[in-house]
Symmetry: C2
Subunit: 900 residues, 2 copies
């Protein structure tokens, strides 16, 4: 324990500074820091967090020296503020506030106007010439002290206040007269007497010590304990207590109060910016009872023009601070510049002008939009205030998402109908449709649609592509709808249990509200909102600063970033967002295009190998063309192609009428088709006949796919395209599975190369998506030329949780803090991460320098990307729209690792 | 490389012995060993496996000294056999045989009668006075040599043989005259000439070296290579070549050949035992053309009596060896005793008597039934030949199964209708029924049934209990039907894809054969046979020797063996088989009993907590009674009770008519019930809302179960029963899950103890059945007071394979050797085993001496039990009928670990 318990600040001397947050709390440390910068701050002192610790360890007593230290600091404060605590002429009034290392908003208590009593209130009247103000402050103090320090139920004071207002026949507190307020002071003191059996303490020192004790006690209220538990804040940290001189912005025409920013928090433009009110208290600016005025003259003029306010009216009622108090404005301008330069970031400040004297009450790094964050970071680098590295670390990769998708028009009024999971960001409106077919149909007529389904299946892909947004009532953040929508960069709200879909009547209900097919709704996928009607959206634009930032990001990161894509369109999108190749091309998505789904079904319905081969030969040329398109877009970059993965039943129709139609189209009996569908049904399809298990039982499927890849590769190479195919075998759990599939791929490659008279370099690797694969990675790496972690499935199997069925308990698990995060959104580094580390180590042990990447959903989630960097992966791969996020996260990972 | 390449054996001198199998192959080593024991073996010599290695490493040449060594050994052989290789008067004939370290039956080649040519055949005639025999041997030799050494297609010889027989108008080879055979010899030589362009080699030495080369070459035929690959035999081992003098049992009335056992291989009784034929070759005994005679007089008399053969007829045609050749019989009696004593095990021997002289051709440990194996092992200990430990190691635990279940009457003729998976051993017959209800109904009338279902669900439990056996057309070795049937010790054939069940018409079809409800079928669950009609079965009996063996087993093993049981009946059965407690009591099985299923459904259909609690309070007294019954049976032994595990939808009806009936019974609308069922549907129920996830969302379920357990425990303890309850929380993946559930259990325990005024010692632990639980076992052990590995689910999640859906690829995986074994039958030590090791180590790291067991199906599988012992588990738990197997395997594990 330090020998010093109390840290004074005031004038130009602060005994603390901003590095002492642990000891003085955030607020106390920053107040000292500002003082040290020569910025006018109402004097005061901070009692350290160590006193709090002592308090709890010593039966709620204080260190012996504390009283003396407080007295000394108080006397310095009096000297600086030229006022005296308890004085009848010029009394010093103070606030007593809590302040822990980290902000715990609203959790602990504050007492304002402390020091008032029947004597000092007279001094306050003398100083302000405002009896009403003085008694109002006095009655507020008694109420606050009564509540916070004496533990009297606040409603008792409120009720008396209401009675007095009723008697006075007024509605607003501000309409009460001095006499009314005097009555209240007397009445409030009676309440204290009645409730506590003791008189209200008139002695200011007694008031002070009682308030300090109350703040320390408030560290251990139930709500504070719960808050700390929820936010993992150790109980041992304790709170500091800051005692600050009161200053008032409501002391007449030469007083004012306001908030300001050193740069525009919406756009990031470097312009001083803020609002103020003359003769007002801080809460008035926020409360919106009076219209706050602009600080700058230019802003004021623009605002008046905008609101069609005449010059005359403006000059009467809405003058800027620059005009009303030009000297103080100049001082504020200098202070804000100094603070920004000092803190090297945009500042959000609160100030009060008391009788012409500027006091800064608070400064902190300002919150801002992501667009502003990018601009400010880049500008600060160019202004020489921070380094590129610092700039990169200041951007929250998750927020980048908002830069990459359309957003709701911020001016629009919205009526939120329901809330679901924020499955894929972006805003979109459209007419409600309930089938993929209708979405496609309306798209042909250029009508925007929102596809509403209980859940989606691969059969809906065309409709999802045609719709502007997707809304499902079932499924989690990694349900089919969510994954596909994110891949497409399309707005999606998933698992919205509040909506009740009735396909038969083509409506959905939210409580009593019925939405019909053709009605407009709007989705806000980043927040999971379902909004009634059509809300205009704003398209994203990449600013110059964004491009600059991303160029720095690319200089620093060491991991490559690829995209998951299976169409020419997505591949191009990925390239546009900076992807350096494809990390996952899911070939089955190609199977659903109309024209080929019939051939796929023909293959599935075949009962002999030769029938299957005949059907496959119809798919071959189509898949080949797909691959050629992708290879051309990815000229010079690797393309990882996964062989067929989903269980075959996903390609067959499920609903009665679909079955009928397909049976007609395929010229088989409905019974035959149904029997086949039944025979393919699985209890747990996720753990069933899929992945390489398909290729092992039906080697001809792998053969066809390998042939399509290698023919495409040879033909593209002949055209002059640089092709780097990487064939990826999914769901391997035993090295023998990979061995068998690799034999087929290599065999087909050799055949195709012989036929074409040309050879293409390629790799054969595997996904690590089953615990057993990770555990036996040394064996598997003997065959695999690369690993790609399929963390979606790896998370499913490691947790034993189906992402399709997580809804019933997953949300509760996060709420009850069983899980810190949804493990399908944020990689579980503790469990799944162990398997990844094991696999990386053992894989590289068997095969030096083994290329390793990730292609699960986590490849675009910042904390997971950082983990990938730490364990030494070569690349991450994610949906096109998340590529910039992954690039940024990869660069931050480098910088954070350097720091440690 | 040794300097010695050739090892002579003959007379009383063998240069090798039985420990030299690596060098001389199994056959060569044993021949030398017999010689060294002074047992008459036809002389010969073995060329070592090292020569084979040299042969392949040196371009198919031999070590320089080999020719000389062979010559010397041959000359010793001539001397011993008093015959000369290539001699015209008394020629030595030899066989040339392959022989690797391990038997590779039929994989490599053999040449008999080598040494015959136009000259030596005359010598053979002189020696045997049997021209026909000599020429028959000669033509056989040419055919064999042509095929094996010269590579001529055997059918060419066969065709000529057919032609000659046709010309001679005979049907059997044995009917050919000397002249016919001479013609064949000439013709065969012509074939050789025509096919190879070379004359048949008349020079015996040339014949010998060609045959030796052919045997070495046969090591690398495609079939031998494939066989080795499938059986993991290294290519480097190579084969030895044994050259043995030929002896003949078909040289007239004083010659004979036979096979014999030193004890009865069916019963294990210590009695010399065998069959023989006079004037016959070895294959005649096996071929069954002539009826083999008994070796012992007593056996012969008994046999004759049995077959109603008169004394006179027996004396004319069926005399025993004891009677026909008493001296040789005596010699054989001594030889077999010597061999058994030497090898310390029951011997299976082949012998030939050539002109009154006994020659032993082979001895090996005889195959036997499990009953015989147990008796022999115990008897050998009592005879002082082997130790208890050796006896224990000689019993294959898997075979014990046959001792514990009824078997098919071995005398019955059976008509196998179809084959499925051998899901649960034992034979049973009954009338075919297709619903659980019918099985229950017929049981009341004392009629045996076989329950035939596509698959079973927990709803069928009562019917499965009522039926004698269960047959399913779908599902694997760990499907619901299989697991439950094994638990009940009931015959079950699962996943029998050949049968096509039609519930509507109450029939099943196998190809064209239709089996109707009420028809009798019989199951042989140990082999997976479905048999038409009623086949009588034989009940198991525990022999005295079995009891003795098991008592030795219990002295040696260090792991406890518990049983999985949830009824009084199963608990008693487990105790009878030696279980030391219950390792898994699945409380949900208790939910299905009629009378309580309605309350369970009421709970599921509840929409508020208080409704659920009301329904649960109806179940409470019933569960409590169940627990009391079990505690009483397990007096003094621990009882591990798992809280509710399966997803709730398993308790609701699935089929249309059931839904209708249940809705009526429950007095809710069918629509409501259907909606509820729909809302509980899951895509992957195995990974869905089950296990502790139920108890976390519905804490009142865990509360009720904990209360039932503790009330039962207190009441039983008051009665004087020693209760040791262990409450097990299933499907934990994160320590927080266990923490939350444990809090509930402890809280209920304290309440109940206070209410009852008595306390019971108990533990709260968890199943480790999810990879994440194993990986974070250190965290989990901070809360868990014991671990129990649920290796069924752990295997499912570690492999990413659903045991319900494995049928589509699992069998092919084992066939294609992707997997060595079905991982649901034999624990995958490489993958799943790693997780177990990690969990054991980390669990004990956090909590010293943590109690650890296994309760998955693997707990009764011998190699898995051995693994459990190696990693240091405290106990294994398995279904009652497998308890003796687990006990034996646990003892073997101790002995094997001591050896290493």
């Amino acid at each position: 324990m330090s020998e010093k318990n109390v840290y004074y600040f005031g004038g130009s001397q602060g005994e603390g500074n901003s590095s002492m947050k642990n000891l003085l709390g955030g607020k106390g440390a920053n107040l000292s820091e500002m003082v040290n910068l020569g910025i006018p701050v109402p004097a005061g002192f901070t009692i350290s967090t160590e006193v709090c610790t002592y308090f709890y360890q010593n039966n709620k007593t204080y260190p012996k020296t504390l009283e003396k230290e407080v007295k000394e600091a108080l006397s310095k404060t009096e000297k600086e503020m030229k006022a005296k605590f308890g004085d009848s002429e010029n009394p010093l009034l103070v606030s007593v506030r809590s302040g822990a290392r980290v902000s715990m908003p609203g959790m602990m208590d504050t007492v304002l106007n402390l020091g008032l009593n029947d004597v000092t209130v007279q001094g306050l009247i003398k100083q302000t010439n405002d009896e009403k103000f003085a008694y109002d402050s006095y009655r507020r103090f008694i109420q606050m002290f009564g509540d916070v320090v004496l533990g009297i139920d606040s409603s008792k004071f409120e009720r008396m206040l209401d009675d007095v207002k009723e008697n006075a026949k007024v509605e607003q507190d501000s309409e009460l007269t001095s006499e009314n307020l005097k009555t209240l002071v007397a009445g409030f003191k009676e309440i204290v007497w009645r409730e506590t059996g003791k008189k209200f303490p008139e002695n200011p020192e007694e008031q002070l010590w009682a308030a300090i004790g109350a703040v320390f006690n408030s560290w251990n209220t139930q709500r504070a304990i719960t808050y700390r538990k929820l936010n993992s804040i150790p109980n041992e940290w304790g709170t500091a207590v800051s005692v600050c001189s009161m200053v008032y912005g409501n002391m007449g025409k030469t007083s004012a109060t306001g908030v300001c920013f050193s740069r525009n928090p919406s756009t990031g433009t470097k312009e001083f910016f803020g609002e103020y009110l003359i003769d007002a208290q801080g809460e008035d600016v926020v409360a919106g009872i009076r219209t706050p005025l602009k600080i700058n003259k230019a802003d004021s003029l623009a605002w008046a023009k905008n609101h069609k306010i005449s010059d005359k009216e403006r000059e009467e009622k809405f003058l800027s601070l620059e005009e009303t108090m030009p000297e103080t404005y100049k001082e504020l301008l200098e202070v804000q510049a100094k603070l920004e330069k000092h803190y090297k970031d945009m500042q959000d400040m609160e100030f009060t002008i008391q009788k012409g004297k500027l006091w800064m009450l608070q400064t902190r790094n300002g919150k801002r939009t992501i667009a502003a964050a990018v601009k400010i970071a880049v500008d600060l680098v160019e202004e020489g205030l921070i380094t590129k590295e610092e700039a990169i670390l200041r951007i929250n990769p998750n927020q980048l998402d908002n830069l990459l998708h359309p957003t709701l028009d911020p001016k629009a009024n919205i009526l939120v109908l329901a809330k679901g999971l924020p499955a894929s960001p972006g805003a979109a409106y459209g007419k409600v449709v309930f089938t993929a077919e209708e979405a496609v149909l309306l798209k042909e007529k250029n009508e925007p649609t929102i596809l509403v389904r209980i859940e989606t299946s691969p059969e809906d892909i065309a409709g999802m592509d045609a719709a502007k947004g997707i809304l499902t009532s079932r499924g989690g953040m990694t349900s089919h709808a969510a994954v596909v929508a994110r891949g497409m960069g399309k707005s999606c709200v998933a698992g919205c249990g509040e909506i009740n879909i009735d396909y038969a009547s083509e409506t959905f209900k939210v409580k009593d509200k019925v939405v019909k097919k053709g009605d407009f709704i709007t989705l806000e996928g980043g927040k999971g909102l379902v909004i009634l009607g059509k809300v205009e959206t704003v398209d994203p634009e990449f600013s110059e600063e964004f491009q600059v930032l991303m160029s720095w990001v690319d200089e620093i990161r060491t991991m490559k970033v690829r995209t998951n894509a299976e169409t020419e369109k997505d591949s191009k999108m990925g390239r546009k967002f900076g992807a350096e190749g494809i990390g996952l091309c899911r070939t089955e998505h190609m199977f659903f295009n109309s024209g080929r789904i019939m051939a796929v079904r023909e293959m599935i319905l075949s009962s002999t190998r030769s029938e299957r081969e005949k059907a496959l030969s119809k798919i071959l040329p189509m898949q080949k063309e797909d691959f050629k398109e992708i290879f051309r877009v990815m000229n010079g970059f690797p393309v990882t192609i996964r062989t067929l993965d989903p269980p075959l039943h996903e390609f067959l129709p499920q609903e009665e009428n679909e079955i009928y139609e397909v049976s007609k189209e395929m010229n088989v009996s409905k019974e035959f088709l149904k029997e086949k569908i039944d025979s393919l049904k699985e209890v747990n399809p996720m753990l069933g006949h899929r992945g390489c298990r398909l290729g092992i039982i039906f080697p001809e499927i792998t053969e066809m796919q390998a042939r399509a890849i290698f023919e495409a590769a040879c033909e593209c190479q002949n055209e002059g395209t640089t092709v780097i195919p990487e064939i990826m075998i999914p769901l391997v759990g035993h090295v023998n599975e990979l061995k068998l599939q690799k034999e087929i791929v290599v065999d087909v490659a050799n055949k195709v190369f012989a036929e074409k008279g040309i050879a293409v370099k390629y790799l054969v690797g595997t996904m690590i998506e089953i615990p057993r694969a990770a555990l036996t990675a040394d064996e598997i790496a003997k065959e695999a030329e690369f690993f790609s972690f399929g963390t979606n499935d790896l998370t499913q199997t490691t947790f034993g949780v189906s992402r399709d069925d997580i809804a019933k308990f997953g949300i509760a698990y996060v709420e009850k803090k069983v899980w810190e995060n949804d493990p399908f959104q944020v990689l579980d580094q503790v469990g799944v991460g162990q398997l990844i580390k094991i696999a990386v180590e053992r894989g590289r042990f068997s095969r030096n320098g083994l290329k390793i990447g990730i292609c699960g959903e986590h490849g675009g989630e910042p904390s997971s990307v950082e983990f990938c960097h730490r364990v030494g992966m070569n690349y991450v791969s994610c949906s096109p729209y998340r590529v910039p996020i992954a690039r940024l996260a990869a660069a931050q990972a480098v910088l954070r690792k350097q720091k440690n």
